[in-house]
């Protein structure tokens, strides 16, 4: 015979449809999002990893000042590599973007056609898909540069540009103002922009691991310097255009699991509290059943069945929805940031297990342990309704001077303490999400504003110093320096020379990234600190990111060599444009052995027009320094909107379920209050005001906790995943006001529902017996 108690389930669900439906929807959404994310993510990771072989991605690239001749190529290839021409030109287009022209590649870094076709005749162009999307370009559109028009015939993903970094030293890629493209040979030749002699290399024997790859890269660089004047050298493991997307794919995996498990845990506790209340309500029935011979385990199974069925159903349907729909939504988030090649959906057993088995296990463990504790009492205790903790039964003393309604409210809070505790946890969780969703745009806004404020010159010109200048020595170096210095003089009265030099962070830092050293001239008009000979100031961004303090010694290493330098920090300079170090120009030139008169760039508040573009490697202005915040806005803007909606939904759902329980638990008392002559408004004051106070207080008190939690998350994200730095500064006051307002708005809706529910409690409820 089937257990007749099972027939309660459908009636229980139908009788409390609102609760079960909201819990189901909440669980369904989080499982489907998590499943969709994991499926999309793992499929894309698999496609990304396979792309190295599929598209024959280079082991690295270098560029030279002059085109390599046959003998040079032969000598280089004798170092154990095969090199391929991969020349490009950066062309400025009328729609405000720089588009990098490449000829069609047939050997390395193959092109993935995403839509349309590749250019076949003159005047045709295929541009990176991501950029087309951001710039609103469609196949068939015409784009122009300097009077030359091109027809967009296809969108592509270049396998070595999954993230659109214009320069490998950039702190962030920029798919809005930069793109790569494929043009026909004739269109390539026609352009008169500077031709960059970039060469890709593939090792004859692939390195077995990362250590070997680094050693091979360093050996190759030593050999290359002997053969040509390098302007760049980027082994694959250092190439952000190739690696950034790969590192980002899967980086949110743990965060997604945490989100899933926290949500399931909260739901499990909500269920447990609901069941606990039901057990209290049905104590006499349970007592009778136990007295009739039902075992504790039979009752535990009975009360646990619905939460488990809801979880299982949400997991199955959530996974189905995740595979069929949410996978595309999540993939679109990545495709909205990166220029990834195509991928195929792979069945993901791990995702299925982790989004099904673990939520069920969590639900089972939490509910079992709470039910076991709740049902452990002997039948007689249930029959006597004597199953609450004795301490809880004692009334705590309240001063009679406290107005009656307030005392009553305090007693309601005390009576429903477990509900309210759960509500507080839920509010903290929802507010962490909400604060994250709100602080991100505020942080980017603050960053941009702050950047504009502490930008010491409107433009910073970094000159194109040949790499060989740093590595060669003696007379040759001096000659090169003299030639270079002559070509980069300007008559612009605003211009002020500075030295620049790049080092890299060493193993002491969480991430290997470039640090720009500024050598500042005495009495600088732009940098308003007078540096003594031994001063080493780090930028505020560098100090913030790695928690550097004055007096601390840091070790940095050469970009293209093994030499290491120790610096003792003597000050912090307020500058967030990039991670940088400021020194006296003369001292810095001596430190890096650059020669007393060396300089590498100009600060200027007006444009410098009298230096040949080929000698200018980078122009840093507010726009270019802002690319990190611009790209983050593009990458996360939509996502943050979704986070805000989800967090308010979680907030409202939790309040709805838990406050509903408070009302249901007190239905008889509310009914009695009505019989006594209390008006609905007064009853609302008695039973809704306590919830309002808890919600408001929890919301306000959770704010500092949320602030600190997000700070930890932010620091972790910025340190481990981003080059450069966006400090944790945002408009706390506005964001907090918004959180409280969102919370109150969500709560107002719930309170209206609860008021309606109270108004519908009949007066005869109090007169009914327990059946």
């Amino acid at each position: 015979m089937r257990n007749p108690l099972n027939r309660r389930f459908i009636r229980e669900v139908l009788g409390d449809l609102g609760k079960y439906l909201t819990i189901f929807i909440m669980m369904f959404l989080i499982v489907s999002e998590c499943s969709g994310y994991l499926v999309a993510n793992d499929s894309m990771i698999a496609a990304y990893n396979a792309s190295f072989e599929k598209y024959n991605i280079e082991n690295g690239y270098f560029s030279t000042e002059k085109k390599l001749n046959k003998a040079q190529k032969k000598n280089i290839e004798s170092l154990g590599v095969k090199i391929y021409d991969d020349f490009y030109k950066d062309v400025e287009f009328n729609h405000g973007a720089i588009i990098r022209f490449y000829k069609l590649r047939n050997d390395v870094n193959l092109v993935c056609l995403m839509s349309g076709r590749l250019p076949e005749k003159k005047g045709e162009i295929a541009i990176d898909r991501m950029h087309c999307q951001n710039a609103g370009l469609n196949i068939g559109d015409r784009v122009s540069s300097n009077g030359i028009e091109y027809e967009l015939v296809g969108t592509v993903a270049l396998s070595d540009y999954s993230a659109l970094f214009q320069d490998n030293g950039d702190s962030m890629f920029d798919s809005i103002k930069f793109a790569v493209s494929i043009v026909t040979d004739s269109d390539f030749e026609e352009r008169d922009e500077t031709l960059i002699y970039k060469y890709s290399w593939k090792y004859n024997t692939e390195p077995k691991d990362e250590i070997m790859e680094k050693e091979m890269g360093e050996d190759l660089m030593d050999g290359l310097i002997e053969q040509a004047r390098l302007t760049s050298f980027v082994p694959r493991y250092q190439n952000q255009s190739i690696n950034f997307a790969g590192e980002d794919l899967g980086a949110d995996r743990n965060a997604m699991y945490i989100l899933l498990y926290i949500t399931v845990t909260i739901i499990a506790f909500v269920f447990a509290i609901t069941i606990s209340n039901t057990v209290s309500k049905e104590a006499n029935v349970i007592g009778t059943l136990r007295a009739s011979g039902y075992t504790i385990n039979e009752l535990i199974i009975h009360y646990m069945t619905l939460p488990l069925v809801v979880t299982l159903l949400a997991a199955i349907l959530g996974n189905t929805f995740g595979y069929t729909y949410m996978k595309d939504v999540n993939a679109a988030l990545y495709y909205g940031s990166y220029s990834l090649t195509t991928y195929e959906t792979l069945f993901n057993l791990e995702a299925l297990q982790k989004t099904t088995l673990i939520p069920i296990a969590l639900m089972l463990i939490i509910n079992f342990s709470i039910l076991r504790r709740k049902l452990v009492y002997p039948p007689i205790k249930f029959l006597r309704r004597d199953i609450e903790n004795k301490k809880q039964r004692k009334a705590f003393k309240l001063n009679y001077k406290i107005p009656f309604f307030n005392r009553f409210g305090l007693r309601v809070i005390w009576q429903n303490l477990s509900n309210y505790m759960m509500l507080m946890v839920g509010i903290v969780f929802a507010n962490v999400l909400l604060m994250f969703g709100l602080m991100m745009p505020s942080t980017l806004e603050y960053y941009s504003a702050n950047l504009a404020n502490n930008l010491f010159a409107e433009k910073q010109y970094i000159l194109q110093a040949p790499l060989s200048l740093q590595s060669s020595s003696g007379l040759e170096s001096l000659m090169e320096l003299m030639m270079f210095e002559k070509a980069v003089q300007t008559d612009n009265p605003d211009a002020e020379k500075f030295s620049a030099y790049y080092l890299k962070t060493n193993e002491d830092f969480a991430k290997e990234e470039e640090i720009l050293f500024y050598g500042i001239s005495k009495n600088s008009r732009y940098v308003n600190t007078s540096f003594k000979n031994d001063d080493v100031f780090v930028s505020s961004s560098f100090a913030d990111k790695y928690d550097l303090k004055v007096g601390q010694t840091i070790t940095l290493k050469e970009n293209y060599g093994k030499k290491r330098y120790d610096f003792t920090i003597t000050g912090i300079y307020p500058y967030d444009g990039n991670l940088s170090v400021f020194m006296d120009q003369k001292t810095m030139n001596q430190t890096f052995d650059l020669g007393d008169d060396f300089f590498a760039g100009y600060f200027s508040n007006s444009e410098i027009n009298d230096i040949d573009e080929k000698y200018i490697s980078t122009v840093m202005d507010l726009d270019s320094l802002n690319k990190i915040s611009r790209q983050m806005d593009v990458s996360f803007g939509g996502f943050m909107g979704a986070v805000r909606v989800v967090s308010v939904a979680i907030f409202a759902v939790l309040i709805y379920i838990l406050s509903k329980m408070v009302i249901e638990k007190n239905a008889q008392s509310i009914s009695m209050a009505k019989i006594l002559g209390y008006k609905n408004g007064e009853i609302n004051r008695l039973y809704i005001n306590p919830t309002s106070i808890v919600v408001l207080l929890s919301t306000i008190l959770s704010l500092p906790l949320c602030y600190e939690l997000i700070k930890v998350l932010w620091m972790k994200m910025m340190i481990s995943r981003m080059s450069g730095w966006i400090s944790y500064n945002w408009d706390v006051k506005t964001v907090c006001i918004k959180i409280v307002l969102y919370g109150l708005l969500g709560y107002a809706l719930v309170a209206l529902l609860e008021m309606y529910k109270i108004s519908k409690i009949p007066k005869d409820e109090a007169l009914k017996n327990v059946e």
């Binding site: 007749p4 108690l5 309660r8 009788g15 009778t288 007295a291 009739s292 327990v770 059946e771």
Partner: protein, 233 residues
């Protein structure tokens, strides 16, 4: 040997100065199929004694032997099994499951037995055929109590324990319930131990036990047994 034997049952509540001795050495025997009524004023210990017989409360000392098996050595699991196999319980407040129908509430009892009575036949005997698909809140107090009796009886228990089964009912409904219990006793041969305040009910019992201050003041065989219909109060 009697089917149910109680030997020197002691039970107290509270601790220290506030300790209160509820049962002070109760000895009692109930034969198979016997109808035993426990009478006594409030606080005399009759409900406590019933709960101890039912294995839902524990005596401080003494032993209960059911069909030759001592309950003293039984752990919680064994006690549950004992209740499952041998006992039926009826309470003053009917304690029905609110979202199960009359028939389903009776099935809750049937589920526990390897050899339950036929549910529909029992519903007929209980006079609930017209109400079998109703929920408890659609029933009168008497109908609810009849359902509770059905739930207790359906598993064909050896002993039916009734704690003030008519305590919440009016005169005529109480008589209906008593008739039903009488029918169960006669038809299914269950031993019945009933706790009641109602002195009149003693006339339908085989054995009448009067309790006061935790002790049996009188235990007598009723030689002039009346039927439930004949009772008046």
């Amino acid at each position: 040997m009697a089917f149910l034997q109680l030997k020197q049952i002691f039970k107290s509540f509270g601790e220290g100065d506030s300790q209160f001795q509820v049962l002070k050495g109760i000895d009692l025997e109930v034969e198979k199929g016997e109808f035993c009524v426990l009478l006594g004023p409030s606080g005399s210990g009759k409900s406590t004694l019933l709960n101890i017989i039912g294995g839902i409360d524990k005596a401080d000392s003494g032993d209960i032997i059911v069909n030759g098996h001592s309950m003293e050595s039984m752990n919680e699991k064994a006690l549950t099994q004992y209740r499952r196999e041998h006992l039926g319980y009826i309470f003053q407040m009917y304690n029905l499951i609110p979202n199960l129908t009359v028939r389903e509430n009776i099935e809750v009892g049937a589920y526990l037995s390897k050899h339950p009575l036929n549910v529909d036949d029992l519903i007929d005997v209980l006079g609930l055929t017209d109400h079998k698909d109703k929920l408890p809140n659609q029933l009168s107090g008497g109908q609810q109590q009849r359902t509770a009796i059905g739930r207790a009886v359906v598993k064909n228990p050896d002993i039916l324990l009734c704690d003030e089964p008519t305590g919440a009912l009016d005169y005529s409904t109480s008589k209906e319930i008593l008739k039903l219990i009488e029918t169960v006793n006669n038809k299914y041969g269950s031993s019945i131990v009933m706790v009641t305040h109602n002195d009149a009910i003693k006339d339908m019992a085989d054995k009448v036990v009067k309790l006061r201050d935790g002790q049996i003041r009188d235990a007598a065989i009723n030689k002039n047994k009346l039927t439930a219909s004949q009772l008046e109060w």
